[in-house]
């Protein structure tokens, strides 16, 4: 054995200081944001809103004059068409895919063992990814709304006969709907997040999510449908109504199913956190 002059050995007695939980969360979030680069999760967030808007745009571009026979402002019809196209099926599926893709970044890299061996608590790992998914979900919704309004304005230029340029955007209703739709996605987002974390696979949460969305569509007429978190975005989307006077209306307060969505969110996150906090990290 070669004896070596080792440089001063580390001081053993003093316990190194750990950063506070918020510092840990901030650092984990900075790392998680970097890992989003060039991922499908990011592309999905940026592009998913475009599809329903494009659909609504094309319908109005070619058939707008038939839809708007009665005259008056075209905005309410245009907005509710785009919103219902997005909210009924696409939005729940988007949330299912988004949560699965974000969690899969770690799973694919077999990085859970690495992540949990870093000097950050398990809570920081749990909440950092959650915050990231919540933020991406918000970005996608805001982009969608921006695209809807942009597409309407574009129709005003390309098809002035439809009258988009002549009428004001019902901004207040749009913003209220934006907030309520976001709340409506939180329940299924949390459930999907916990499922993804628990099974640490891509196929299982996507399968569970797709199955749940399809089952929800079949169960819509059930009296307890408002308690299913996967039904909430759909219910919020169709809750937007047009009055006889052609004014867009949406409730000022959270609907019952939106409260259920929040309850699911809180319940699933609490259960998931407790489940994952003490879990052994094998394989």
């Amino acid at each position: 054995m070669n004896s070596v002059l080792t440089p001063a050995l580390p001081e053993l007695a003093t316990l190194p200081a750990a950063t506070n939980p918020f510092g840990q969360l901030r650092r984990t979030l900075a790392a998680d944001a970097l890992k989003l680069r060039r991922t499908a999760a990011l592309r999905l967030t940026l592009l998913s809103g475009a599809f329903p808007v494009l659909l609504a745009f094309l319908i109005f571009f070619f058939k707008g004059h038939e839809i708007l026979k009665a005259g008056g402002t075209p905005w309410p019809r245009f907005i509710s068409l785009a919103w219902q196209t997005a909210g009924t099926l696409l939005l729940p599926l988007f949330v299912v895919l988004l949560t699965s893709l974000v969690v899969n970044i770690e799973t694919k890299a077999t990085a859970w063992k690495h992540l949990y061996a870093q000097p950050v608590g398990r809570g920081a790992v749990f909440f950092s990814k959650l915050l990231l998914i919540l933020a991406l979900n918000a970005v996608a919704l805001v982009l969608f709304v921006g695209l809807v309004l942009g597409a309407g304005a574009l129709l005003g230029v390309l098809q002035p006969k439809l009258g988009f340029q002549a009428h004001a955007v019902p901004m207040e209703v749009v913003l209220r709907m934006l907030g309520r739709t976001y709340v409506a996605t939180l329940g299924l987002l949390a459930v999907q997040y916990v499922v993804s974390l628990y099974w640490r696979s891509f196929v299982v949460p996507v399968g569970v999510g797709m199955g749940a969305v399809v089952a929800t569509v079949a169960l819509l007429s059930w009296e307890h449908a408002d308690k299913i978190p996967y039904a909430a975005p759909l219910m919020t989307s169709v809750s937007m109504r047009m009055s006889k006077a052609g004014v867009l209306e949406a409730g000022h307060e959270l609907a019952k199913h939106e409260w259920y969505s929040l309850a699911w969110c809180g319940g699933a996150l609490l259960l998931g956190y407790l489940l994952l906090y003490r879990r052994n990290m094998t394989t």
Binding site: T6, Q118, P119, N280
Partner: protein, 311 residues
């Protein structure tokens, strides 16, 4: 092993099982500061499980892990700040470049920004830092994993089978790097392997695990001494059986290893001379008489074959 100094890493009665299947039984590791501790055992003996317990990835069924003199279960986050680890295959994000992979862990640990370039240079990946990790060869991936483990300039490095999948050149490079880290920076390294040859050239201390039990722990010279005890005298003559029958007292402990070959446990030089004299006196031809020392590998295999009591 010098027991007066306080160990950098110690486990006390560590036990672990998957459901009802026991994996580790009463493992008491002791790693001195500034050593390279080779953690040896065949596949499935419990090396990876032990490594995961040392990082708090698994919760022990019984026993405890002490790092830097503190209880891991109680101060996990603080203690892990001084530990760098490479567990099995490195955890790399294929969609990110090598540089971004290091950067992700750097941000997570809150390490100074200049360290990213430093550790990439240390493992010789500077030129390939801006290629996506998915294009990396197995050896480059392993080196990138090591760079990430070294980011925080940790006092303790835990490397689980770091030479897995490396070619001979890569293995030599890894060995050189470990030696440099210890000699120049005073790092303590625990490195697991299922091959003794990989470890003996670099380790200062060795622990051998077999079926979840630590069957040997000590310095490399300790292991070499253990092997001296197993030196044998090889006697070559015309007919082994005749020879044994003629000299029943002297050759009582001999085992025939061939028609004309006998193996005797080595006792002393005088005993060797006595055997030679007796064989010639009995009128038997003595073709050869030599000492055979088992290689470290034989000793390792011997340790992991049977289940001797704790060394």
């Amino acid at each position: 092993m010098n027991s007066s100094s306080s160990p950098l890493l110690a486990t006390h009665g560590l036990c672990f099982s998957f459901g009802k299947r026991p994996i580790l039984h009463d493992v008491n590791l002791r790693v001195e500061p500034g050593s390279i501790y080779g953690f040896l055992g065949p596949n499935g003996a419990g090396k990876s499980t032990t490594m995961r317990l040392l990082l708090g990835l698994l919760r022990p069924a019984a026993g405890s892990v002490q790092l830097f003199g503190h209880d891991l279960a109680r101060h996990r986050v603080a203690l892990l700040g001084r530990v760098g680890a490479l567990i099995e295959n490195p955890s790399l994000y294929d969609h990110l470049t090598g540089h971004e992979n290091v950067e992700a862990t750097r941000r997570l640990r809150g390490v100074a920004a200049h360290r990213t370039a430093e550790v990439l240079a240390l493992v010789g990946l500077t030129d390939n830092a801006h290629r996506p990790a998915r294009e990396y060869s197995l050896g480059m991936r392993q080196r990138l994993g090591l760079a990430i483990a070294l980011l925080s300039d940790p006092d303790l490095l835990l490397l689980d089978e770091p030479t897995n999948g490396l070619d001979p050149n890569g293995i030599i490079e890894m060995r050189e790097l470990m030696r440099r880290l210890r000699q120049e920076q005073g790092k303590t390294i625990v490195v697991s392997s299922h091959l003794i040859n990989e470890i003996e050239k670099v380790a200062t201390h060795v622990g051998v695990i077999q079926q979840g039990r630590l069957v040997f722990q000590g310095s490399l010279p300790d292991l070499q001494r253990l092997q001296t005890g197993r030196t044998r005298l090889v006697l070559e003559t015309q007919d082994a059986d005749t020879c044994r029958n003629l000299l029943p007292r002297l050759l009582a402990g001999a085992t025939p290893a061939g028609p004309g070959t006998l193996w005797l446990p080595w006792v002393s030089r005088e005993h060797t001379a006595e055997v030679a004299a007796a064989v010639t006196a009995a009128g038997l031809p003595l073709y050869g008489l030599h000492l055979e020392q088992p290689s470290l590998e034989d000793t390792f295999l011997h340790l992991t074959e049977a289940r001797p009591t704790l060394a």
